[in-house]
Amino acid sequence: MANKTKAWKDRRRIAKMITTVENALPGHEKVLQDIYKKTGNAYIIGITGPPGAGKSSLTDALARAYIDMGKRVGVIAIDPTSPFSGGSILGDRIRMNELSTHPQMFIRSMGTRGQLGGLSAATHSAVMVLDACGADILFIETVGVGQSEVEIVKLADTVLMVMVPGLGDDIQTMKAGIMEIGDVFAVNKSDLPGADRTKLELKAMLSFLPPKEWRPPVCLVSATEKEGLEELMEAIDEHRTFQAEHGRLEQRRMRNAQEALLAILRDKMVERVTKDPRYEHLIEQIAEKEIDPYEAARQLMD
């Protein structure tokens, strides 16, 4: 415990470690190997939802509440990278500026950088760094559209889907496919007209899902007015307890472990095979239809 308090205080070291693992810089394997056994303490909350729903403001409000309870809180805020320039503007800190100097808080912004599958690996690595360095609660905040974001959210123990009134009819919600990934729903900006109706519609749609043991609750909140936060935190706690009682956290850990191993195996395999002296020649042979790609792969694997 004392070690984690010390690790958490060294901001620059944490930040440098995240840079190393996020970019797979030289030494990243060593970093991940060194911290791996220290991970597993943090409870990970994924926050997602459409742009403008108030995800950052809600993350800020929840982070404050956990900080008041004495928790160390980490936030990984993900914004899209431009597919044209490869650059990005990461603006989630705007809603969290007051907390940025708080000793119990660590915020890190990440761009999606358009790597297929790579983003969830980079996010997972950053999560492990903050976890190992002492975070009790970790938020992963992402825009809730697109496959890669859904992948990231799967890293979370609880997925909080943030909605707002007035986004359109219920078909919009259904086609986005977002009903399936939320464990807890928050209707933010509850002071806006239509909030009650949005809540009812969400509840109705959730009731169409195949019956499961966990039925996601829908909470009305206002992040800026600090209303409904206690109920929302209770709902997150209930989901946490439910998962612990039903062995779900264990299942998720096993699945994450499996995926981590498979990802490394894939990388190593590709690295080894592409260095094989026969590799280039086999590609030519495949292109010339002298050999089929399955046979070529078999030869390289032998």
């Binding site: 901001r11 620059r12 944490i14 930040a15 440098k16 995240i18 840079t19 970019n23 810089l25 990278t81 431009s82 320039s85 490869g86 650059g87 990005s88 503007i89 990461l90 603006g91 800190r93 705007i94 500026n97 007051e98 940025s100 100097t101 660590f106 915020i107 890190r108 912004s109 761009g111 950088r113 790597q115």
Partner: protein, 131 residues
């Protein structure tokens, strides 16, 4: 994929004019950089905490309030205290020529005044970030 240059764009001080900061943020993004934009009315402590946590190579601030002679050296000193002497620190805004020499002595690498082309800011950063 090569690691993009990460830049923190912030506005210290009390003026509410962030057009310049936003134009710069967009220009840096279009040049392929990752810009962490923190918005208006940042204290030096907030800017430095963000720069450290985000592990940026560059801190770029826009200041129009006239408080540059106090705030900018304060930010540089706080960065150095945190062990971030290697972070490039640049500023833009309405800053009189006679103050620029003083600011450069205090470790502000470049001061961009109104009328500077965004391409100039982009190339200065690209050339001066330590690889």
């Amino acid at each position: 994929m090569e690691k993009p240059i990460r830049v923190l764009v912030a506005k210290p001080g009390l003026d509410g004019h962030d057009r310049g900061a936003k134009v710069i943020a967009r220009a840096l993004r279009d040049a392929g950089m990752e810009v962490i934009y923190t918005g208006l009315r940042q204290t030096p402590e907030q800017i430095v905490a963000a720069a450290i946590q985000e592990d940026v190579e560059v801190v770029a601030v826009s200041i129009l309030s006239g408080a540059h002679a106090t705030l900018l050296p304060k930010i540089r000193d706080l960065l150095n205290e945190e062990g971030a002497q290697d972070m490039l620190f640049v500023a833009g805004g309405v800053i009189p020529d006679e103050d620029i020499t003083f600011l450069k002595e205090k470790g502000i690498a470049a001061v961009f005044t109104p009328g500077t082309a965004t391409t100039e800011v982009v190339s200065f950063i690209q050339e001066n970030v330590k690889k």
